[in-house]
């Protein structure tokens, strides 16, 4: 499981590094510590999600940071949501959405995407 508190590292590295603050509604951690993601998992499906999606959709991922601007920051991490369906996740991954690029089949196969979408939609495997 992942931590409930959306912890935010206040460090920014677009072409360098500088101090920054968190998106509204997220808790600010120490400026240069605590940006690490929880990379743990407790099922093969969760492990696949972490491997393929976690870098953007767990703590301090690009997707989490941007989604926190558009919705309740407490639900900015996909794994905390209850409104995701298999079809929606599949469409978002393959079609891209907002700033999220399309996920290519070389990176995530159709079979892998089915597992990940099922995990996020909380559908029993």
């Amino acid at each position: 499981m992942i931590g409930r508190g959306v912890m935010v590292l206040a460090l920014m590295l677009a072409g360098g590094a500088a101090l920054a603050q968190a998106p509204a509604g997220t808790r600010i951690s120490n400026a240069t510590r605590g940006g690490m993601q929880d990379r743990s998992s407790h099922s093969p499906a969760e492990a696949l999600f972490v491997e393929k999606c976690g870098m953007c959709h767990r703590q301090m991922g690009m997707g989490t940071v941007i989604l926190a601007r558009r919705m309740d920051p407490a639900l900015a991490m996909l794994e905390l949501r209850h409104d995701l369906t298999v079809d929606y996740v599949t469409a978002a991954a393959r079609g891209g959405i907002g700033n999220m690029p399309r996920i290519q089949r070389g990176e995530v196969s159709d079979a892998q995407l089915r597992v990940i979408a099922g995990y996020l939609a909380k559908v029993a495997p």
């Binding site: 920014m12 940006g35 089949r105 070389g106």
Partner: protein
């Protein structure tokens, strides 16, 4: 440009060689492998993609491509955002997607790793942590991408191992004719020194496969930093634009002397704002952000006009002595703020890229203008002198103003150079802005060229433009590259146009 009949024939052969499940040629696939930062994704859209599982399959694909005259565009993981992503220079090329090749071999004792191109920074990070191997990565600001691909494109990170190409030690390469070579000590079958001694015997070829189209790298050796006993440093804030000059002149002697062994990057206020906020939170005025807004940004993030972070790695005594030298260098200098930071073994993980922790959030700057955004990088290299840095800053800043764009820049201090990394943040759904960005970029390249400065890396759209600025003796180096290209790749199969290197048959078409 690519004959549809030849492509169809090649795809048939690819399917029988690597399985139909690993050949992608639907419209959705072609779009997925395009540059998603581009205002017109069709401009560099590939014709298909193939995803081999190993070097043998790469060899088979290269041979098939030769047979049918179909160009391949190798990608490691295709996350080279700001430089074209997965997309090829030549529309209709077949993307050779190496994402599925994910083998990792770590030599913990010697601090080296051998990675296949599909291994991302997060993958390698997870691998090391799961096994409690005390080696640190050097990660780029977007760590979603490939360890090997980033090193081959001369990407940079934040630790003393941040010049990634300089830490490459030994490659395995599929040549354009389908042959397989290993460089350095790997040229000897079964050598235990492949990842230990770079040169081998005779000419060294590792650099030949960086930013080139001379082969397809299928394995890459890289040195990793042994976890240091201590990491210590100072975060500096500077109040005025003019502080750039003296700050560079204060830091560079320490960099040259080897006191500072990572590349400090001095960047402006927009780096923070663009990642953590959207522009509309600050102003509705489309003109470049004014001093009032800049002050508000600086106040909110408690930062200077410029910020720079310096870090030392090693035994506590050495880090402490280095810190004392750094403090002395800035003694009585008009620094706005200095904040010291210290980590030692036994502390909780430091948790930032300064200790090799991979991150993806800097990519959030694509959202600066709201909606679907993106960026391209403009990164000329200049001598490491404060007056030249100030001159570069003033000229570039004036061009940002001229083209109505928000200034976003940093100056990364190499051992003997400065790399002025500028981000052009845009809204790709704004055609007027995208036209402006293109003219702006061309003006920037021309401005650098007029001063004898060249870019270290560029977007697929501008590879010819930048290659042409390397103009000594009638672009003699480009001609050499093209002679090598023709010798190794007579059919022009591997990545035509990469780094401005065109195979003979493409040059004839262009003539």
């Amino acid at each position: 440009m690519i004959d549809p009949a030849k492509l169809a024939a090649a795809l048939r052969d690819f399917r029988s060689a690597i399985g139909a499940d690993n050949v992608f040629d639907s419209d959705q696939d072609r779009t997925a492998y395009s540059d998603h930062f581009s205002p017109d994704e069709t401009r560099h859209q590939p014709g298909a993609a193939v995803a081999p599982a190993n070097a043998e399959q790469v060899q088979a694909i290269v041979r098939i491509a030769n047979r049918h005259g179909v160009p391949l565009w190798p990608i490691s993981r295709g996350k080279n955002f700001g430089y074209g992503g997965a997309a090829p220079v030549v529309r209709g090329s077949v993307v050779l997607d190496l994402s599925r090749m994910k083998a990792i071999t770590v030599d913990e004792h010697n601090g080296t790793v051998l990675v296949e191109p599909g291994v991302g920074f997060f993958d390698l990070y997870d691998y090391l942590r799961a096994r409690k191997i005390p080696l640190w990565l050097s990660v780029p600001g977007n760590s979603w991408g490939s360890v090997a691909g980033n090193a081959l494109d001369r990407g940079v990170g934040y630790t003393t191992y941040g010049d990634h190409a300089a830490r490459i030690c030994g490659l395995e390469v599929v040549l354009p004719d389908g042959g397989l070579v290993r460089t350095g000590m790997g040229a000897m079958a079964g050598s235990p020194n492949w990842q230990l001694y770079r040169n081998g015997f005779g000419p060294g070829w590792d650099a030949m496969f960086c930013q080139s189209n001379f082969g397809v790298v299928t394995k890459l050796g890289l040195w990793l930093m042994p976890e240091p006993e201590t990491m210590a440093g100072i975060d500096f804030e500077f109040d005025a634009p003019d502080d750039l000059g003296w700050a560079v002149d204060t830091l560079m002697p320490l960099r040259r002397a080897g006191i500072i062994q990572q590349a400090p990057s001095m960047g402006n206020w927009l780096r923070s704002a663009a990642v953590m906020t959207r522009r509309e939170e600050w102003t509705k005025d489309p003109a470049p952000l004014n001093d009032t807004v800049i002050s508000a940004i600086r106040k909110r993030f408690n930062i200077g006009w410029w910020s720079v972070q310096v870090r030392f790695y090693g035994p506590a005594e050495i880090a402490a002595a280095s810190m004392a030298v750094l403090r002395r260098a800035f003694d009585k200098q008009p620094v706005l703020a200095m904040k010291e930071t210290h980590w030692q073994q036994g502390d909780p993980p430091e948790g930032s890229p300064f200790s090799g922790v991979p991150v993806s959030f800097p990519l959030a700057n694509a959202n600066w203008h709201g909606g679907r955004g993106g960026h391209i990088g403009y990164s000329p290299v200049l001598p490491p002198r404060g007056d030249l840095a100030m001159d570069q800053f003033r000229r570039t800043h004036a061009l940002y103003e001229k083209y109505g764009m928000d200034y976003h820049a940093s100056f990364a201090m190499g051992e003997r150079s400065l790399t002025n990394v500028n981000q052009l943040l845009f809204d790709r759904d704004n055609p007027e802005m995208m036209t402006r960005v293109d003219r702006f970029f061309r003006d920037l390249v021309a401005d650098a060229h007029a001063h004898g400065y060249g870019e270290y890396r560029t977007h697929i759209e501008y590879m010819d433009l930048v290659a042409a600025t390397y103009d000594f003796n009638g672009q003699a180096l480009r001609h050499l590259n093209q002679r090598v290209k023709d010798a190794l790749d007579p059919n022009g199969i591997i990545a035509p146009g990469k780094s401005g290197i065109w195979p003979g048959r493409w040059r004839e078409k262009q003539a």
